[in-house]
């Protein structure tokens, strides 16, 4: 009797497992996004080599959103995230710190930084660690601009600046390096991605690899790609950083999140970014 119920339990579990899996029935794939009628965005692509067996197709988060939300991203006038990009432009041209420099003193214009977002996070040989765009901004501010108090990692000013740096790279293919000196951080990020956290015992993969397209309460799970960050979230009425979103996810597992800007989140950002290699930069994207 005991054995039978045990077997019954096992077969029920197997059935539940088989019933899980990606659910793209409600999702309309195959649409294309062109921003301002001139910047084509890759919203679906072949997965990178390291994802073999994990994902059959890589989808931008845009694919999982409603028509109304999708449309907001197609035109800069309708994209509220661009308001923060404008504030980023003002800051870019403002002198900060003791050296009398603005960002423009070295970088001329934001467009000159168009190759940054697609390749970050990346290994920084000088500092011997993987750096995110935010860390790079802080490095510039403290080491070259003489700012004693650089932007906070998740401050509004930082998000504005990172949104500006992303916006000029829209349409460029995400291509972060995962080999060489970045390999250790990438491995750490992958381990975190597949580790279950919190009382709910959820890993990133449970939702974003095994169940994307399915409903989580009233919302469709995406693949958790970060190519659209900083992302304008309608629920926040503001742009949100990658690490802020990571923190929110781990909090929702009822776990204790890593800190924003921590080495663990930097590693996770590198790994998650590499899962989106082949997509294009969309930041600031518009999401729920």
């Amino acid at each position: 009797m005991t054995r039978k119920s045990l077997l019954g339990g096992v077969s029920a579990a197997v059935f539940a497992f088989a019933a899980a899996g990606v659910g793209l029935a409600d999702i309309r794939t195959g649409d294309s996004l062109v921003i301002n009628g001139e910047i084509p965005i890759v919203t679906e692509t072949e997965p990178a080599a390291h994802l073999e067996g994990a994902l059959s197709t890589v989808y931008s988060g845009w694919v999982f959103r409603t028509d109304e939300t999708r449309a907001m991203q197609a035109d800069d006038f309708d994209n509220p995230g661009m308001l923060y990009v404008e504030q980023g432009i003002d800051a870019f041209n403002t002198v900060m710190g003791s050296e009398g420099n603005s960002c423009a003193s070295c970088h001329e214009n934001p467009e000159s930084l168009a190759n940054v977002r697609p390749s970050y996070p990346q290994w920084d040989a000088e500092h011997g660690m993987v750096q995110t765009v935010e860390m790079q901004v802080i490095e510039c501010q403290t080491e070259r601009m003489g700012m004693e108090e650089p932007y906070g990692y998740d401050s509004q000013q930082m998000r504005n600046m990172v949104a500006l740096i992303a916006s000029v790279a829209r349409g460029q293919t995400v291509d972060v390096a995962i080999d060489g000196p970045a390999a250790d951080a990438w491995e750490l990020g992958r381990e975190i991605y597949y580790t279950a956290y919190g009382q709910m015992e959820l890993s990133c993969a449970h939702c974003h690899e095994q169940n994307y397209g399915n409903l989580i309460r009233a919302d469709h799970l995406s693949q958790g790609q970060v190519n659209g960050f900083p992302t304008y979230r309608l629920k926040n009425a503001n742009i949100v950083s990658v690490h802020n979103r990571f923190r929110g996810c781990i909090r929702d597992t009822r776990g204790e999140p890593y800190g924003i800007g921590s080495p663990e989140f930097v590693a996770l950002e590198l790994y998650v970014a590499s899962r989106g290699n082949g997509l294009t930069v969309e930041g600031p994207a518009v999401r729920n």
């Binding site: 006038f77 309708d78 509220p80 308001l83 404008e86 504030q87 009425a237």
Partner: protein, 109 residues
């Protein structure tokens, strides 16, 4: 005056007489409802855009009364029939007495 208040409008450059054109407007503004409290429990004073108007060559097109339920960065889109070349004049009225204006010209063939 609230910080970073920038009005923006998008109007077609030209149209044919009698055309209905789509007018889009957006003003960046915090729209503080007056219903929230700060960390110390004190009410945060209301500061919203309470009225928005659009006129075409002096003739009123829309006149909108706005209340605290409207969220940050109010966006208005409407259609207007244009019969002649002229300019749209947009005006936003802030609770603190500030008035923000913007104009957009349209050529009607």
């Amino acid at each position: 005056m609230a910080e970073n208040v920038v009005p923006r409008v998008r109007v077609p450059r030209d149209a044919s007489a009698g055309d209905s054109v789509s007018v889009r407007t957006l003003i960046s503004h915090p729209m503080e409802s007056g219903l929230r409290r700060d960390g110390d429990g004190n009410p945060i004073p209301r500061q919203i855009i309470n009225r928005f108007t659009c006129a075409f060559n002096g003739e009123m097109v829309v006149d909108v009364e706005i209340h605290p339920g409207v969220s940050t960065n109010p966006y208005f889109q409407f259609d207007a029939v244009v019969n002649e070349t002229g300019s749209f004049e947009f005006t936003w009225y802030d609770d603190d007495g500030s008035v923000y204006t913007e104009t957009a010209d349209i050529t009607v063939a």
